[in-house]
Symmetry: C2
Amino acid sequence: MGFVRYFCGMKDSTYPYPVLRQFAHDVFVKIGCSPDDATLAAEVLLNADLRGIDSHGLARLSGYVRLWEAKRVNSQPNVRLVHESPSTGVVDGDQGLGLVVGPKAMSVAIGKARTCGTGWVAVRNSNHFGIAGHHAMMALEHDMIGIAMTNASPLVAPTFSIERLLGTNPICVAIPAGEQPAFVADFATTTAANGKLEILQRKNKEAPLGWIQKKDGAASTNPHELKEGGALIPLGSDRDHGSHKGFCLGAWVDIFSAVLSGANYGPWVPPFVSFLAPPSDPVGLGIGHFFGAMRVDAFRPASEFKQHMDQWITRFRSAKTVQGQPAVIIPGDPEREAHAERMEKGIPLHESVAEDLKKLGQRFQLTF
Amino acid sequence: MGFVRYFCGMKDSTYPYPVLRQFAHDVFVKIGCSPDDATLAAEVLLNADLRGIDSHGLARLSGYVRLWEAKRVNSQPNVRLVHESPSTGVVDGDQGLGLVVGPKAMSVAIGKARTCGTGWVAVRNSNHFGIAGHHAMMALEHDMIGIAMTNASPLVAPTFSIERLLGTNPICVAIPAGEQPAFVADFATTTAANGKLEILQRKNKEAPLGWIQKKDGAASTNPHELKEGGALIPLGSDRDHGSHKGFCLGAWVDIFSAVLSGANYGPWVPPFVSFLAPPSDPVGLGIGHFFGAMRVDAFRPASEFKQHMDQWITRFRSAKTVQGQPAVIIPGDPEREAHAERMEKGIPLHESVAEDLKKLGQRFQLTF
């Protein structure tokens, strides 16, 4: 259905957004999701592809289906608020898709912020929720700051360790502005996100030192090192350059997402891939997320806040750069540009992803 | 008053905590603080020395006095809540010492968390608040999670830039546990805190690559580079190793601390040192902080939460380490150990700091 193009020596084809979204929706319906949940899940999933975070979009669709087959995803969850205070809540995702549970929990946070100034929701018993940015950005249209974080399959070794005890545990903070586009910082708390390793694997290129370590903790540039028992490294790369701070960040996300909510944490987080069994001694339910919404006018009038955000953004965007380097990037700029381009020109899919989707289509008698 | 010892070739003397605290208290009274405010300021300041964060303790006392002389610190501030919602507030520090304004604002956050589940307070018109850890840890005794952040004098260049637009903008997250000591992650959002550079300067040693850059953005190992117009580098060290994520973190702290509160942000933050004038075109009032308190039982019963925190901490502490490396450090461990040791054996002060305090003593007719 797409236009073929060649990218980095690999064949990529480009597909219109509405077509891909419909396909994802139809797959979610086939695994038993209600039409509403399927629409939501497809929107969240495709938002990753639109924003250029290819590792978290359609590339994962068959992975979600395999988790459903393994009975580790419940396609008809009863997502419910199990504990609350005026500004907080805990949501049980009933083993649903994080793509569905996430937006529902974030809506609870936004509702609480409306009445209380801020809302904070911890989620247990969920699954991978796509890109953190989608959920945090839900706050923007309400003139709220949005925060989203999640724990994830353990792939990261704390500083000094050889054990994989944390996920890439991303954080997103989305802050509304006035005439400028919103500030949206969405990043893994490791030196490099797993998606960046996948790109190197496909290109058969080496990784910079400081991204990954071997099974025994030695430095490595092999992007396939995780398969050999190696680990990703927290943001900072090594102790001298602050990897203990990256460890702090990943730990913070893990504790807020799972110890507050009653989900699994650390090495007990169930793996995303269905061929690895979850730990046999869980310490909680599923994986955990944490969401926050803060009404800007619970601090100062929204118009004033936005005017200063515009000034903040403009000042940083116009910073003098190192000779030969690009301009300072305001968090969210690259993803917004990708979104605009891909909405207009379509979404490029790597050949292997397109193949994967074709197989899904055949299996569910859907056209791809 | 202390016992002389030799450390790294420099003469350090060791002083009992109560004596140093009394001295700091008396200096604060001499510049006009009320006895209560002086007690509070001395406690916060000395907590840095106790916890081994020497750069943020008594080493800064004469700096605070110079800011007061320059009429940039108001020793009798009317610290007041100028805006609020059930879970939020904005505090105006009336140009007071951050050491006094900080704990008062954090108390507001704790009070709001008591009734509302969480409390979030942005602060404007303040000054340097000592260590973030002090304020965040105030939440612990209430079975709350504490968060503290602050912006600071611009010394950090965003990725690709040669301009110093952000401070070292620290974040602290303090999380209560049960039998284990609390998790307390307190870190600058740069590769290395300024205090680490000061140690290298005193020892005349080079810094690792990735901590600082020259005026033109080139790599540098000269710990004196800031005086030549160079800049600190965000956590991550370079673009390949995620310095854009460190920039995101520092920006997040800046916006929460100052754009939410109405303080100065980015390059407009007034410098800590009195010999540098604040920008002539301020965009807000003083420097800004941001505090949060979350009642643990607004999410799940506190006993359950603490039991799982104990399990989290125990599991990470016992992680297998790289051969020849120390055990995994739980955030807060080194500072707690320093605290215990210094409470018992006294606080070592570098010769130059002791000299500085002696001069202050002479000036205010106080014994040091």
